[in-house]
Symmetry: C2
Subunit: 381 residues, 2 copies
């Protein structure tokens, strides 16, 4: 078990009708909020009204910044920063899924920085401060509501890069599973795949296979995501399954699932970022394509031990190949594509995708070369 | 799944040689430390020297407060508060097990309060502020290194009571598994029992059996404690087993193991506190006696469902009675007593013990009457 540091100061308020508690919390931090959200689903499910009323009742003025897209775009982040500055905002409120929260984080940091916010993503500058952030999560998937990272896509250069800083931890995140009851089925699927991807990256890439307590936690979270997702697909109104899924997805990337692992890498994410940067597909869809291919590569290069252990604990299967099949089966049942062609991505693009991925792999300091990435992607044909 | 709030701001620094990192952390908070420790085991294992040197190198002056006993005594807490005031301490450093950390918390709160520190424990006053606390844990058991509670015993009234406040979260806790390599075998046993007790209280007393993700986490932590303990008993020098045990014990009572449960109670702890308050036995020994008896009572009154689920997931057994037997077997293998007589406690004291327990049960607002407590204790004869 390797040395580690764990710290996570985000306050989670979880359950029915908790979104209205954001107003009093935000009022402790400031008086003028930039309210960041996406395409309007929060107007349909009532979250928008609840937040507006809660902020107003607690004396917090609001400047709206709507229209965040999946794979949030740098230009939209820059527009949000300009708005926050013009209005003199002293806090940020975000309502939506991981893209909305990620863009809100980038704005919160960019608003307190003189240079271009992209500096944080391409490694030119470090985030030292950010406006306090309050979130209402409506899509369990990315874990952004309880971590210190964010991902933004530079549309001009087709780079989907990330930034990290303790200053990015949300102050408070409100998680109401009822706000997820109306999610489209494909978002349920992609959220489940994304959560699984977060849970497994450290487990399968660690050089230290003797962090037993973390292995157990990884198994626990994966079992919970799989079981909850299957329950949700059967009965979308199952509150307890929605709740279990929501909390599992948060815990999947809040730091717990990698404690004591060493030399981990985010290789599946690095490859997927290229898919969604180039083709603008859903992050979860891209991950469902990359993971089975990477598992086959992992089996060849690292052997069957981890796949066997995971498969026995999570899927109740024996053998590494059976574990990979169980992953694929779960992704398919959830409704995600598991091959490039199923997402309309041509095999002849593999060199282009791999070249794009190398940018992120180098930036993250990972030890992979382009031929290896091409080989993994060819396993997804 | 019930609504919940989760927040835990303690920074954990975990692994080999991390204790020396406490000095720089403490220096951010103040210049004069009260250094709280126990009977001197930290002088043998080197932790004392590392902390003294780290504090000195970072310009933090030290006033020592040694001699904390298991089941820390109110009078010793009061003496520590007097010392901290006299020396003008602006922070507290604790090195040892849960008793040392609990006493340090009580001192940290008491030093900033005009009245008697016992007011916090008997419900007369709330803790609103405390000196910042830095800990080096040397005995995995109580979870105090990453939570907001502490337990102190009033020797005059034989009351072992607790206090809780967000102000009591340690700022930083350093957990070096190597400092646990020399623990006496009985402390390994009692630490394991205490951790198991923390893991199971919420699971078995919740009125909501549909918080699936938390059930999975409870199973994961319990499996880890059981497996690590058996490895440690076989080979006390097994670093990875020590590390897994240490992190499991911390996670067992940092809030994760009860998220989404409703109506939970700390009934095993309430009864045990009377045993250790009256007979000054180890908390873990008392818990190993109370838990099997309480499980039998739980089976009679609540049915077999939770015992069956837990037994299958953690011990790989079928049936509620088999689960209780597996708990007892684990406690015995660890070296803990599982009946009152094995700890030298006479059955005729049961009414006295039960009457004492009722004080805490009423203070904690739990719905139990004395005949029920007597019945449970009779199952431990």
């Amino acid at each position: 078990m390797q040395n580690f540091t764990f710290v996570n100061p985000t306050r989670i308020i979880f359950g029915k009708a908790v979104v209205a508690k954001l107003g009093p919390e935000a009022a402790k931090a400031g008086k003028k909020a930039l309210f960041v959200y996406g395409g309007g689903s929060i107007k349909k499910n009532g979250v928008y009204d609840v937040i507006m009323e809660s902020l107003a009742r607690n004396g917090v003025a609001v400047t709206e910044h709507a229209g965040v897209k999946p794979n949030p775009a740098l230009s939209h982040v820059q527009a949000g920063i300009a708005k926050a500055r013009a209005a003199g905002c002293d806090l940020v409120v975000a309502a939506g899924g991981g893209s909305v929260i990620d863009e809100a984080k980038a704005i919160a940091a960019g608003a307190m920085y003189e240079g271009d916010v992209w500096d944080f993503f391409c490694g030119k500058a470090e985030i030292r401060q950010a406006l306090p952030l309050f979130t209402a999560l409506t899509l369990p998937a990315t874990g952004s509501e309880m971590n210190a990272g964010c991902v933004v896509t530079n549309e001009v250069t087709a780079q989907k890069y990330s930034a990290h800083s303790p200053a990015l931890f949300p102050r408070v995140s409100a998680l109401d599973p009822e706000t997820t009851l109306t999610l489209p089925r494909e978002q349920v699927a992609y959220g489940a795949v994304d959560s699984i991807a977060h849970i497994i990256e450290g487990y399968f890439t660690t050089r230290d296979a003797d962090a037993e307590v973390t292995d157990e936690i990884v198994h626990a979270l994966a079992r919970s995501v799989v079981a909850s997702t299957l329950r949700i697909l059967k009965d979308p109104a199952d509150y307890n399954a929605r709740a279990s899924m929501m909390w599992s997805a948060t815990l999947a990337l809040n730091g717990l699932a990698t404690c004591g692992y060493g030399g981990t890498s985010f290789i599946n994410h690095a490859i997927e970022h290229s898919l969604s940067a180039i083709y603008d597909i859903a992050h979860g869809a891209g991950l469902a394509i990359v993971m089975p291919a990477w598992f086959r590569h992992h089996l060849e290069t690292a052997g069957p031990a981890r796949l066997e252990k995971f498969g026995a604990a999570v899927f109740g299967v024996s053998g590494a190949a059976e574990t990979i099949a169980a992953f694929e089966d779960f992704f398919r049942r959830a409704g995600a594509p598991v091959r490039l062609a199923e997402a309309g991505i041509p095999a002849e693009d593999i060199p282009k995708i791999s070249a794009n991925a190398m940018g992120l792999i180098r930036l993250w300091g990972m030890k992979h070369e382009q031929p290896e990435i091409e080989k993994i992607l060819r396993l997804a044909v």
